[in-house]
């Protein structure tokens, strides 16, 4: 079903309306897509290729592929998922040529990378503890005393950006889509072809490493 009369075509969040408008040659629809998705497409591309300039090329190639493919798009997935699949195919091909490590060669391999816990084991009492096995040996600190301004200060953001950069690829990919780009878990699973459970494990491990980085920073400089 189409929307034949839409005088103010500034919001194309409805996929069917967006696709209809693109097919009808509505330039505002394509402009909306460019404005809405370019930043996060670039961020995703950057995970696969070595430089910002290469990521620019991957995104450019993606937009041109979208123009080629829009008539064949069957809308069995969301526009967003479709768009990211195109991007990832292009970026991965390019990443292979650049010999960058590829996040999702297989989900099980991805889960093997750094089979790590959220906290070091010695933060907890040992299994044989008479009263509280597995409970805190040393309490994590309350970060409430960290002022909002400090939490969101440039230095903190740079620290977090660095921690994300160092994550194993699959964790970085899931955390970036979920937390930086605000994707739902279903969208991430569809785009990456991983199960909900695996997606959540990867997200948790990624967040745990960011948490640890923030903890060292806050508690080391408090």
């Amino acid at each position: 079903m189409g929307l034949p009369c839409r005088p103010m075509s500034t919001d194309f969040t409805d996929d069917a309306a967006l696709v209809d408008a693109l097919r009808a040659g509505d330039e505002a629809a394509f402009g909306w897509m460019l404005d809405h998705y370019h930043g996060s497409l670039h961020r995703t591309a950057r995970m696969y290729v070595a430089t910002d300039a290469h990521a620019d090329e991957v995104v450019q190639e993606t937009w041109l592929a979208v123009l080629q493919a829009i008539d064949r798009f069957e809308q069995r997935s969301s526009v967003k998922t479709w768009l990211y699949r195109i991007l990832m195919n292009i970026a991965r091909t390019r990443g292979v040529r650049e010999a960058r490590s590829i996040p999702f060669s297989s989900a099980s391999n991805a889960l093997d990378e750094g089979a790590d816990s959220t906290f070091a084991a010695d933060r907890f009492r040992p299994p044989g503890d008479a009263d509280w096995p597995g409970h805190w040996a040393s309490f994590p600190l309350d970060w409430e005393h960290q002022l909002e301004s400090r939490v969101l200060a440039g230095e903190t953001m740079a620290l977090v950006a660095g921690a994300i950069e160092r994550l194993p690829p699959a964790q970085r990919e899931v955390l970036t889509l979920r937390d930086l780009d605000g994707w739902s878990s279903t969208e991430v699973c569809n785009a990456l072809g991983v199960t909900e459970t695996n997606q959540r494990v990867l997200l948790h491990r990624g967040r745990a490493k960011v948490r640890t980085a923030l903890e060292s920073y806050f508690e080391g400089t408090a």
Partner: protein
Amino acid sequence: MTPPADDFPCNELVELVTDYLDGAMGADDARRLEEHLTACPGCASVLEQFRIVVRVNGRLGEADVRRLPDGERDALLQAFRNSSTAR
């Protein structure tokens, strides 16, 4: 003094924080987790710390958005016009 029989040990709870924040836990497990949180300041701090991580990540995502330069945007719109008329 020992913890209640159905209590989560803290070292297991900290692995479930993302499941909890995603609403992906079963109702019974979520209830046990919440009961634990009311009694355990350490785990309550960890939940708050993860919320802060999510918030900082989100803020980073907003701050770090690469804009499409106007010239490239115009060129892509031209490509769109060309592909539309070619159909």
